[in-house]
């Protein structure tokens, strides 16, 4: 999906008194293409709780009881991270990660453009909870309008007299791996926005060697609401092992691609229905370009949650779902994405620098139906040796995507490997593409 990712208010619950299946929490008050002002924000959500009246540790406890997990893709328990950073001896730093380098995700952009004060509230609360005296809000350098809007929102808060922790908006080089937390820390320390592969994790020693909390902006927005309404309220939506709501980005073969706020653990088929998917959806990509392909019938009933998808080897990632219709070529789609991911390597680690272009080339041969030698055997061997061999998880993600395509489209892969490509590949229309491939940005600009 490109361009069509302006969010829309999600469907409202029927007025039958039951809890809404998809409550509008983060998306409350969203109007078409307009930012929720500070005044409207306070009207909708109420004032920020004042820290002076609470015991230390209250927020980390509330977040842990709420069961909030990171919404940036890794799904780590947020309360655990808050406590780990707060327990450091030195003053801490908060990094709000709004980089959203995943091409199939647009929810962080939508959240920052529509409801910036939820993110800023959450970052402020997190800073109080971990004892931070500065917040770095990291945004891609490619989005100057968004940067300006967020700076305006920060200025509005300062004019209203809120004694917030200073928030520095940082414009970070935009590569797929630059949103990785060690990339952000390295860049904030004056280096390049490439993963560091350090054995030290940011929560122990990050920005200026201080304990550093790196949280996705949606995660911070949920903290803003948990602080106001409490963990029991948070758990009124979602599943016991996957509570709350989440922002999902749906694209591909659906009538209304966009951002949807759903109860965590909503079945995949329900989310597709929200986005107006027809009967022709044959396969889905779950979790983004580091995610996995599945035949729709194998996963339609599964909840979009870490626990619900684990049995099929999938993960919601940053809440990404892409629908692929009958007749499209999943192998060609995957080949294009692998080519993109190979080009997005930070260029630091041999297995990534050489391995990713190799599997991308194998997939391109497979997709075209004109392979050299036994391409499936070669892919099997190469995919088996790349995982876990990098400073970051970039090779792991590419391998996961490629391997899942060979499983989900197994029959198709065998035919392509035997030089009998599908109709889409023969027509040459396979490269039309349901998965958006961003233009490479400022190759070589990492500082």
């Amino acid at each position: 999906m490109t361009g069509a990712h302006r969010g829309r208010p999600r469907p409202r619950a029927d007025g039958d008194g039951r809890p809404a299946a998809h409550p509008a929490r983060l998306t409350a008050g969203w109007r078409q293409a307009r930012r929720v002002s500070l005044h409207e924000h306070l009207d909708i959500h109420g004032p920020l709780p004042q820290p002076g009246y609470r015991r230390p540790g209250w927020l980390a406890d509330a977040v842990a009881q709420a069961g909030l997990t990171g919404r940036g893709g890794a799904g780590f328990p947020t309360g655990t991270k808050l406590r780990a950073v707060a327990s450091g001896r030195r003053p801490a730093v908060v990094v709000a990660n709004g980089m959203e380098s995943e091409p199939a995700s647009a929810k962080d952009h939508a959240l920052l453009a529509r409801a910036p004060h939820l993110v800023l509230d959450g970052a402020t609360l997190a800073a109080q909870a971990v004892g931070a005296d500065v917040i770095h809000l990291c945004l891609p350098r490619t989005k100057p309008e968004l940067v300006d809007q967020v700076r305006d929102s920060i200025a509005d808060r300062q004019h209203s007299g809120a004694g917030d922790t200073p928030i520095e908006v940082q414009e970070v080089p935009h590569h797929y791996v630059s949103s990785e937390e060690t990339s952000l820390v390295r860049w904030l320390n004056g280096g390049e926005a490439r993963p560091s592969g350090s054995l030290e994790r940011p929560f122990e020693r990050g920005v200026r060697r201080r304990p550093t909390l790196v949280d996705n902006v949606e995660t911070l927005a949920h903290i803003a609401l948990i602080a106001r309404f409490g963990p029991a309220w948070f758990r009124q939506a979602g599943l016991p092992d996957s509570p709350g709501t989440m922002l999902a980005t749906v694209s591909g073969a659906v009538a209304s691609p966009g951002i949807y706020e759903i109860a965590a653990g909503t079945p995949i088929t329900d989310l597709l229905a929200c986005a107006g998917a027809g009967q022709d959806v044959a396969a889905v990509l779950i979790g983004g370009y580091f995610g996995t392909w599945h035949e729709l019938r194998a996963v339609a009933a599964l909840p979009l949650s870490a626990g619900g998808l684990r049995p099929v080897g999938a993960s919601p990632g940053a809440g990404v779902l892409v629908a692929l219709p009958e007749g499209a070529c999943g192998l060609a789609e995957t080949a294009r994405v692998l080519g993109y991911l190979a080009g997005q390597s930070a260029g630091q680690c041999g297995p990534c620098v050489f391995g990713l272009p190799a599997i991308a080339e194998d997939f391109a041969q497979l997709a075209s139906g004109r392979p050299n030698g036994d391409v499936l055997e070669r892919l099997d061997r190469r995919l088996g040796v790349l995982t876990g061999r990098g400073a970051c998880r970039h090779p792991d993600g590419a391998v996961r995507l490629a391997a899942s395509a060979l499983t989900a489209f197994a029959a198709d892969a065998r035919r392509h490997a035997s030089r009998m490509p599908c109709a889409a590949a023969r027509r040459g229309s396979a490269n039309g593409g349901f998965l958006a491939i961003p233009r490479p940005w400022a190759e070589g600009e990492w500082e």
Partner: protein, 83 residues
């Protein structure tokens, strides 16, 4: 009896010189691009001198011997989760 030590490779530092695979073929193979594939798990006592030699020989200081688990911070995170 295990040494409690395991090999750790800094992939960003490794340039694929391949000396480690020459000196310690029991635990290190090279992939088709010449980069090391390490066998998991603790280094056996009998191989420890060879492992130390391989570590010293690495021109980019990419190979190290670390106490298992390699990422002590991962253990700290797990602990934090049980508080």
């Amino acid at each position: 009896m295990s040494t409690g030590l395991r090999l750790h490779l800094d992939f960003a530092a490794c340039r694929g010189h391949g000396l480690c695979a020459d000196l310690l073929p029991e635990l290190v193979e090279l992939d088709e691009w010449g980069y090391p594939l390490l066998r998991d798990g603790a280094v056996d006592p009998g191989l420890l001198p060879h492992a130390r030699r391989a570590v010293r020989a690495c021109p980019t200081l990419a190979l190290r011997l670390l106490k298992a688990p390699a990422r002590a911070q991962d253990a700290a995170t797990r602990k934090a989760g049980h508080r």
